[in-house]
């Protein structure tokens, strides 16, 4: 695939904290980690999704002024950023594993409309929905 979306970024309050969350607790890998002065371009990747990077960006100078950065941090901390969805093979197994690693779940796995879903947040407040792959059901 040559065309398509390559990077989508999240705002995080602390890149080091976000890095350890997405890598150690969620099992993502670092794709790019480049610094230029105070600026740090940091992206991670799902191990099974090599064509997509999730950017973990800290709002602040030089891209955003301090007041705007504070407002963005507040919006993230209020959980007001748009939903993120992670697809897993087995939602309950992933839940158990992530819970043991200290992930803050907002919703335990629930069976809904033939799939199982759960909810969690990253340390900054970004909210994720975790959905088990839809299973073929014999009706």
């Amino acid at each position: 695939m040559n065309q398509g979306i390559e990077v989508v970024g999240l705002y995080v309050r602390d890149q080091e904290e976000a890095l350890s969350f997405y890598v150690e607790k969620l099992g993502f890998r670092v794709h790019t980690d480049v610094r230029n002065g105070d600026y740090r371009w940091l992206t991670v990747q799902h191990p099974e999704q090599p064509s997509f990077q999730l950017g973990l960006f800290k709002p602040g100078p030089p891209v955003l002024d301090a007041a705007t950065a504070q407002a963005v941090n507040a919006i993230v901390a209020k959980g007001a950023m748009p939903p993120l969805v992670l697809v897993v093979n087995d939602c309950r197994a992933a839940f158990d594993q992530m819970l043991a690693r200290g992930v803050e779940f907002t919703q335990e796995p629930v069976d809904r409309f033939g799939t199982v879903d759960a909810g969690f947040r990253d340390p900054s407040g970004n909210g994720w929905k975790m959905i088990g792959v839809r299973k073929a059901r014999s009706h």
Partner: protein
């Protein structure tokens, strides 16, 4: 700008969000201020005000919207008896549930169920949590206020306590 009292620190907001998340996860449970304040690591005296400042409505009104949201989902998606739905969503009596539901949505649980069962929904491709949030009632005034405004136009004000 950081001196502005309206500007809540992101770290505080993140902890207040935890209280909101906990209500979301278990809206059928009782959430006294003491319990919510403990989740957020905020003093009881400051919690309700801080929550309202962060999320635009008082914590118990937020809880009410979540309960009604869940009740509407159960009315729509299940065939559970209304009594059972009232119980499952945290009301202690069917009467309180029915009255609050009507005050907020404008129709009784039974009327609501009848109406939505007729229509088909095409939201199967949207994650269920997002669907339910879309159907969350927008409670910009308190239920007692809403009730009072209606009652003022018809009868005398009602004085029932709310959950």
């Amino acid at each position: 700008m950081s001196g502005d009292p309206k500007n809540q620190a992101p770290a505080l907001l993140r902890r207040l969000l935890r209280a909101k998340d906990r209500m979301d996860a278990a809206s059928h449970e009782d959430w006294p201020i003491r319990r919510l304040a403990r989740v957020s690591g905020v003093s009881e005296a400051h919690f309700a005000r801080a929550f309202k400042q962060a999320f635009g409505l008082p914590p118990h009104r937020y809880l009410l919207t979540r309960r009604i949201e869940r009740a509407t989902a159960l009315l729509r998606d299940t065939d559970l008896p209304i009594t059972e739905i009232a119980f499952q969503t945290g009301w202690e009596s069917l009467g309180t549930f029915g009255r609050t539901f009507r005050d907020i949505t404008g129709e009784s649980p039974g009327e609501f169920r009848e109406r939505v069962k007729i229509g088909t929904h095409e939201l199967g491709r949207v994650p269920a949590c997002v669907v339910s949030a879309v159907h969350r009632p927008d409670l910009t005034i308190s239920v007692s206020e809403k009730r009072r405004r209606i009652a003022d136009g018809i009868n005398g004000p009602e004085e029932k306590e709310l959950p």
